[in-house]
């Protein structure tokens, strides 16, 4: 059996590429063949993903299209006679990018416009969350394959003071790191003058990174760290030393860092948008749209200092991680592909 994965783009720290490579490891374990190709490949990815032109499936092979960005070159794949499964990883609305990264804005606008055409042309269209699937008019959900074992062990005891607030996610407008910095600074002024904020994520461009660094220096000089390109071990260490995980993102299709924070037992505060409520369940403190940064600062104070609250959230977090265990996700993926003949 051969399953070929087709990606819009492949990057070294890109969640979709990571997901495709994890799927490939499963396919190998199941004795399936095939190769992974992408329309655009970052040179840092290496040889594990081939250019799109290398795609040469046999008649009975299955194509798994990971849709995450506008990719006109993928249109040719739709014309191929093989059976196809499309997994939508969600595309951020362009309105978040026009002011800060016009190229990303164009790619997002066109990508969202092109998605219904792709969904209509495949045999099965699935989302990584119910939120994503609904956008496609589908009820097939194949969640992100989340393997906590790869992240290393969770911490055994509470991290030492001073409080550390963490957010992991691309340094991009819709992730609202500006609001995170603002809420953190209010928390710091009111409750913990020596607190630190750690923002982990690759920036969309240098200008945006500079703007975020300038904001951090203006509001909270010396208390904010912005990092990217961390190794898995370094990332795990950031989670282990965090007292709270704060996500004020305005758009999330799934939000893997929530599950990562749950795995490490870090209390999570998040804005209830997109796929976040579905992934977080009752294990996070979810904000309503009109909860401002002052409310977030007070929630941070509770999440950092209230022992009972931390313990209950940690218990519930373990249940969420169990709900997204790799085995059931792998089963859903296998069932969807086998229904197409793989």
């Amino acid at each position: 059996m051969n399953v070929h994965q087709v990606l819009s783009g492949a990057g070294p720290h890109d969640a979709v590429t990571t997901q495709a490579l994890a799927f490939r490891a499963l396919f190998r374990a199941w004795g399936w063949g095939g190769r992974d190709v992408a329309a655009e490949i970052d040179p840092r990815v290496g040889n594990c993903v081939a250019p799109l032109r290398a795609l040469a499936p046999l008649q009975r092979d299955v194509l798994l299209i990971h849709y995450s960005a506008y990719a006109p070159k993928l249109r040719g794949v739709l014309q191929m006679p093989q059976r196809k499964l499309l997994i939508s990883h969600n595309i951020t609305p362009a309105r978040w990018f026009w002011d800060h990264d016009p190229q990303a804005g164009v790619v997002c606008a066109l990508g969202r416009k092109q998605l219904p055409e792709f969904a209509a042309a495949v045999d099965v269209a699935a989302g990584v969350s119910r939120y994503n699937a609904r956008e496609l008019g589908s009820d097939v959900v194949i969640p992100i394959l989340f393997d906590p074992a790869q992240l290393g062990a969770a911490r055994e005891r509470e991290p030492p003071q001073p409080p550390v607030v963490l957010f992991v996610g691309r340094l991009a407008p819709h992730k609202r790191q500006d609001a995170v910095v603002r809420a953190f600074e209010l928390f710091r002024r009111r409750h913990a003058s020596d607190a630190r904020l750690v923002l982990v994520g690759a920036p969309i461009n240098m200008r945006y990174e500079q703007a975020m660094r300038a904001l951090a220096d203006e509001l909270s000089p010396g208390h904010v760290t912005i990092e990217s390109s961390l190794t898995r071990e370094q990332l795990a260490e950031r989670y282990r030393s965090a007292h709270a995980f704060l996500c004020l993102s305005e758009h999330e299709g799934f939000c893997i860092p929530l599950l990562e924070a749950f795995h490490f037992g870090v209390p999570v505060i998040a804005r209830a948008v997109g796929g976040v409520p579905e992934v977080a369940g009752d294990a996070a403190l979810l904000l309503a749209p009109d909860d401002d940064e002052s409310v977030v600062a007070e929630l941070l104070a509770l999440a950092v200092s209230d022992r009972q609250l931390r313990d209950v959230l940690r218990e519930r977090a373990a249940a969420r991680v169990a709900a997204y265990a790799p085995e059931p996700t792998a089963r859903k993926l296998r069932d969807a592909l086998q229904s197409l003949g793989a």
Partner: protein
């Protein structure tokens, strides 16, 4: 405290505070692009600092790319000005049409 009570407690505590941060960059989505903003965007002015390489040992590649831009600056300026000329004229025409539609709608009312 149980998680279900935390948000209510935080809202009550926040209501007692009056120290909101007003300064600094605040990111907002561009919901409706105004004609003035379109005019601003129509003028093509790419920032040369955005020219870079993400490869391993990207620094020398970035340097080479920037040299190339520098060497080609006369040609690139020509490209930019032609594109900007088209963009601006198209926008002016669009703004005129919007005004005309508004006037016609007013007349119909």
């Amino acid at each position: 405290m149980m998680p279900e009570d935390a948000l209510r407690a935080a809202r009550a505590a926040a209501a007692q505070r009056s120290d909101a941060l007003e300064q600094g960059l605040r990111i907002e989505p561009t919901e409706r692009v105004s004609i003035e903003l379109l005019m601003e965007w129509a003028t093509i002015e790419p920032d040369p600092d955005l020219m870079r390489s993400t490869r391993k040992l990207g620094a020398p590649i970035t340097w080479a790319k920037r040299q190339l831009v520098h060497v080609l600056r006369q040609y690139l300026r020509e490209l930019q000005s032609q594109q900007t000329r088209f963009n601006l004229n198209l926008l002016i025409r669009l703004a005129e049409l919007e005004d005309r539609v508004a006037r016609l709608e007013e007349r119909v009312k």
